[in-house]
């Protein structure tokens, strides 16, 4: 069963997605990641104002049988955090690309997008 990917999003090798609008990137984990993790029971709250570099740890997520770090797909400052998924982490399983977004980052350097994959590339990368 192929995991879902969304056209137009960027993807990392560590299974995060990035949606870019103006100079702001919304971050979440992919359908492949949520499936691998299983039912997510806890999401560590990302701090607003936190500055991250591309590939640095942004936050962490926990399921019953696994725990995983979530890495920043792009460098910048965290300007918004999705409180809803901190309260109910199951949303990430249900809608990993929509309501299950985790944080919004103000993009520092748009050049870094070069380091990310597109939908097709990521699909190939994660083909079962």
């Amino acid at each position: 069963m192929a995991a879902k990917v969304i056209e137009g999003f960027y993807y990392t090798q560590t299974d995060e997605w990035l949606k870019v609008e103006d100079n702001v990137g919304t971050v979440g984990i992919t359908d492949y990641a949520q499936d691998k993790l299983g039912d997510i029971v806890y999401l560590e709250k990302t701090e607003k104002g936190k500055k991250v570099k591309q590939t640095e740890t942004l936050t962490a997520v926990e399921s019953v049988k696994a725990a995983s770090d979530i890495y920043a797909p792009i460098s910048g400052e965290v300007i918004e955090v999705n409180e809803k998924v901190v309260e109910d982490s199951s949303i990430i399983n249900k809608e990993p690309y929509g309501e299950g977004w985790i944080a919004k980052i103000k993009i520092e350097n748009a050049d870094e997008l070069k380091n990310l994959m597109g939908a097709k590339e990521y699909s190939e990368y994660r083909k079962e």
Partner: protein, 499 residues
């Protein structure tokens, strides 16, 4: 089943105290106002009879080694000899205060001293500390000894190599020791990738953790090369003794070049597991590392035994007092009961058992590696994915056949060790028991194809059905008072579990 709190009746009691409670002493003159409290702490109020019945019933929901096979890979759930239990419970041992004057505990000290000699001979090292309380505790002790060695030589190192097949305690211990863990891949044979090891090993690396046979139950043929590479750059080799049961009389870690060895006395040495301990993770070292051992160690001056300070280079202490003494007694008793031939036979019998399981089940459960194994074999449930079956389902169904499941999902490293089922039938398991197990596994393999629902909804014949672990993590209720706070929201079935 009802909790002890739910069985409490006001004013009921189960204690026995002397009549004389020193009533003439005024408690207010003993305890200052800042620490005094009027309220008694609420425990439970039950009689001794209630307590006996409560825990007797609880015990029947458990499954012990005396009930049957416990094929847990990496745990060596072998038979716990009963005479050893008796000897560890002798009053002169049991009632000995740890700080009693040395002349009153010469028996304890003599036993610890003799045990040290035996363990050194069995594993090929020079001195053991009996302090660590578990394997992981031993690993921490070992990692701190390694750190101290480099600090003492003015050679600060920051990295530690750990195979991807390693037990989770290995990387966790590295971190606790202040090292950055670097993973070494396993090759297609399941053993350490020598080429990658050579690339990774440098003068900033303290050393390498190895379990041999490794966690997939395979002996590492490259062990001499590994030793050469690690020592060649001034590193130290650490032996995780969880799998020692495959080595008695075959290979001694000291001879293979290991500098530090930890043993799990509650595994290879037959001491009982107690529902999660106590065990003991004694650490043995080669001569050069003795100055760094935790303090004290037992010495003999020709006449008397002493607890002697290791010296100023010691890493300090990793627990209060000296060790898990009754576990040491049982280990000592077991070694004396087995003798050199018995130890060799343990390894031989357990290795034959594991390979027998592998041979008989490999066409039903694809092995992670198709080669002879040590004392445990690693099968996988990979081929059942297409029926919608996870390895977890196979394990839960096995319980319906009266067996405790083997270790599942460990070890886990791609691409071979996935959906793993690690089976270890120690030497105390007979061929008939193993045949029954094999039989059950074959039946389950058929059920997976013809009636997968049976597995997915398993277990059916156990005291309780499959548990909702997600709910437990999402809505933590970690004591009875948490439950009381949520009482109205919860909809438990109020019945007692009847087994």
């Amino acid at each position: 089943m009802k909790l002890i709190f739910e069985k409490s009746i006001k004013a009921r009691d189960g204690y026995s105290l002397p009549k004389d409670l020193f009533d003439e002493v005024d408690i207010k003159s003993c305890i200052p106002a800042y620490a005094a409290t009027d309220a008694k702490k609420a425990l439970s109020e039950v009689s001794e009879v209630d307590v006996i019945r409560h825990f007797t019933k609880l015990s029947k929901f458990n499954y012990g080694v005396d009930d049957g096979l416990y094929p847990l890979g990496s745990c060596t759930m072998k038979y716990n000899p009963k005479v050893n239990e008796k000897l560890a419970s002798l009053d002169n041992f049991v009632c000995a205060p740890p700080l009693a004057p040395e002349e009153t505990v010469q028996g304890c000290l003599e036993l610890m001293y003799d045990l040290n000699k035996l363990l050194c001979e069995v594993t090929g090292v020079d001195q053991y500390t009996m302090a660590p309380a578990s394997g992981a505790h031993g690993e921490l002790t070992g990692v701190l000894i390694m750190r101290q060695h480099f600090v003492d030589h003015d050679d600060k190192r920051h990295k530690m190599l750990v195979p991807d097949s390693a037990h989770g305690t290995n990387p966790a211990s590295c971190t606790m020791g202040g090292f950055k863990m670097i993973e070494v891949r396993s090759n297609e044979k399941g053993t350490v990738d020598i080429k990658q090891l050579k690339d990774l090993m440098d003068e900033d690396t303290a050393g390498l953790y190895v379990t041999n046979p490794n966690t997939v139950g395979l002996y590492d043929e490259g062990i001499r090369d590994i030793e050469g590479i690690v020592h060649g750059k001034g590193g130290l080799l650490y032996y995780d003794g969880a799998n020692l049961n495959a080595s008695f009389g075959i290979m001694r870690p000291g001879d293979a070049g290991f500098d530090i060895v930890h043993l799990n006395l509650h595994k290879s040495f037959s001491t009982p597991h107690g529902g999660g301990g106590p065990g003991s993770g004694v650490i043995g070292v080669k001569k050069a590392l003795i100055p760094y051992l935790p303090t004290p160690i037992v010495t003999f001056d020709g006449k008397k035994y002493h607890l002697s300070d290791v010296g100023e280079k010691s890493i300090g202490m990793v627990r209060a007092f000296w060790g898990n003494f009754p576990v040491l007694v049982k280990t000592y008793a077991w070694i004396l009961s087995m003798g050199p031939d018995g130890l060799g036979n343990s390894s031989e019998a357990s290795i034959i058992n594991a390979n027998y399981v592998l041979a008989k089940l490999k066409k039903y459960y694809r092995p992670a590696y198709d080669r002879y194994c040590g004392h445990e074999c690693v099968l996988t449930g990979r081929d059942y994915k297409k029926y919608g079956i996870k390895t977890l389902d196979i394990a839960k169904r096995l319980m319906d056949y009266g067996f405790h499941p083997p270790t599942i999902y460990f070890p886990h490293f791609e691409p071979y060790a996935e959906e793993t089922i690690m089976v270890e039938p120690p030497e105390s398991e007979s061929k008939e028991v193993i045949d029954e197990f094999i039989d059950a596994m074959i039946k389950i393999s058929n059920e997976a194809k013809t009636n997968p629902e049976l597995l997915k909804s398993a277990p059916h014949n156990t005291p309780i059905r499959r548990t909702d672990d997600v709910l437990a993590a999402k809505r933590p209720i970690l004591n009875y008072d948490d439950e009381l706070k949520l009482k109205d929201e919860l909809k438990w079935r109020a019945e007692d579990i009847n087994f």
